[in-house]
Symmetry: C2
Subunit: 107 residues, 2 copies
């Protein structure tokens, strides 16, 4: 699926962070506990490439790079909402299924 590349762990968190407004590289990083600079760069690149976020270089000194959600990125709100709704509604069932499965095979 196309959404795989947008809905992986870090990308979702990045979009959530950018949801309230633009942030600079290290500002995003500070909000995402545990992400490495490499992983953040990669995720941002892919989001940018797919048109989900916009990258804007502020050529002041010191240099700054600002990331923000694009209109296309905002259009993801509905899918995300539906997915979250499904999760909230069915998570107990899933956990119960997992417990039952693990039980069957002596966990």
């Amino acid at each position: 699926m196309l959404l795989d590349q947008i809905a992986d762990k870090w990308s979702v968190l990045i979009l959530a962070a950018l949801c309230d407004g633009p942030l600079r590289f290290n500002a995003v990083r500070r909000r995402l506990d545990g992400i490495t600079q490499k992983a953040l760069t990669q995720a941002l690149r892919r989001l940018e490439r797919n048109g989900i976020v916009e990258r804007r270089v502020v050529t002041d000194a010191p240099i700054a790079v600002e990331y923000s959600i694009s209109p296309l990125g905002r259009s993801l709100e509905e899918p995300f909402r539906v997915i979250n709704a499904w999760t909230h509604r069915h998570l107990p069932e899933v956990e119960q299924a997992r417990a039952a499965f693990d039980e069957r095979r002596g966990a």
Copy 2:
């Protein structure tokens, strides 16, 4: 996300295959071109563990194992539909963004 484990490449295709009715292991396999038996086993196990598919051993000779979608699995229809709708609606934009990005950096 929880959906990651359900909405990866093979799982989606497996669910699509099972959508119209139960199938045996090798029947699923034949529908999924290129999947290895190991990957299929793993995907089916995880789907089963999460309660998305049901596994039923038919103890005839030769042995048969039938997989089918559970009610919980069917409840995924709406999220999938919304995701597909988003993809259909916005894929051109994404592709355009990708082309522009790749252009910018000499592809």
